[in-house]
Amino acid sequence: MAYTYSKIATYTVGSGGVASISFLNIPQTYTDLIVSISARSTFSDNGVSLRTSFNNDTGNITVRELRGSGSAAASYSITYGQTGYLTAGLDTANTFGSASIYIPNYTSSNYKSSSADVVSENNATAAWAVLSARLWSSTSPITTITLAPADGNWAQYSSAHLYGIKAEL
């Protein structure tokens, strides 16, 4: 296998939780990025919105989302940094949502498109499954990625992982 998929950074939440996870000073030497997330919010609800921002810019974001609730599906247009839903405090204990965010051409001088598949999981009918496509209307290369729950903190044992994909040129 070619040396094209590289580990960059991992963060695992300790006791007490954290409000957000940020990857700073992202190397500009890859072609694409992948963020893998296994996380749960302390917020007292079934599911929590995952908010993703680049370079600390929480604006300039538009999103198309296909969302399943466990019993129905619908599609939405969103103008803030929602990237699906992860597990939260009223969901089954010890259960963590799972997400993968794909960010191609993150160093380019074009606007940045990305896609994500995100699930919340819960031992009940109600749980979120989301396919998301988003546009960050900025020509700046991505140097920082921030992952935050819309409410509450990331619970202990939540983890986020950043990988770089290098094209064979």
Partner: protein, 196 residues
């Protein structure tokens, strides 16, 4: 049943020998392509040194029906109890829907064209299992799968929950009914932890 021996492990320590190239963060652990119809595929003795697992598969069912697909089920560590949940976001090409089931004896990670549908068409899928050795977490799997049968088909985002905190050492894949058809293929990858 096909049981697959593990051929590769992550390279540890310094690279010293000429040609001793770091293979990156995504390491092939085991692959099988079925030479005959097979009821179950099992990855056993899964190494515990990775952060995540990923399964990539193409599948077709031997069920001879001329319409529809069969789901691909997954079990962990040989647990056949009613300890699994799944959630599904489904698109048929004409509409979308979502559903779920609890207290299942497996969760779901794929869909296979039945053998009476368009010949030689296989379903494709990628399943991610994050933090598979973390004993503070129940296991969540997330799978993006689908197939097109030249006139029908489906695309599905599955999630599944195994209500158990044990580290995953064995993965078993099985078809909804009958067997996986010859040439169905399953590859297991380990994704390294950053800094490993």
């Amino acid at each position: 049943m096909a049981s697959i021996s593990l051929k590769y492990k992550s390279k540890q320590g310094s690279l010293t020998a000429p040609g001793d190239v770091d293979p990156g963060a995504m390491i092939p652990i085991a692959t099988t392509t079925l030479s005959t119809a097979t009821a179950t595929v099992t990855f056993s003795s899964i190494p515990q040194e990775y952060e995540h697992l990923q399964i990539r598969m193409i599948t077709r069912s031997t069920n001879t029906a001329s319409t529809g697909g069969d789901w691909v089920f997954i079990r962990f560590n040989g647990d056949t109890g009613s300890n699994y949940t799944w959630h599904r976001l489904y698109g048929s090409g004409a509409s979308g829907s979502a559903d779920a089931a609890t207290s299942q004896t497996s969760t779901r990670v794929g869909v296979s064209p039945r053998d009476g549908t368009t010949a030689s068409a296989y379903g494709a899928g990628v399943c991610d299992i994050l933090d598979y050795t973390n004993t503070n977490k129940y296991t969540t799997q997330r799978s993006l799968v689908g197939n097109d049968r030249n006139g029908s088909g489906e695309i599905v985002l599955y999630s599944g929950l195994w209500l158990n905190t044990n580290a995953i050492t064995t993965i078993t894949l099985l078809p909804e009914q009958d067997n996986f058809k010859q040439y169905s293929s399953f590859a297991l990858y380990g994704i390294k932890r950053a800094g490993a």
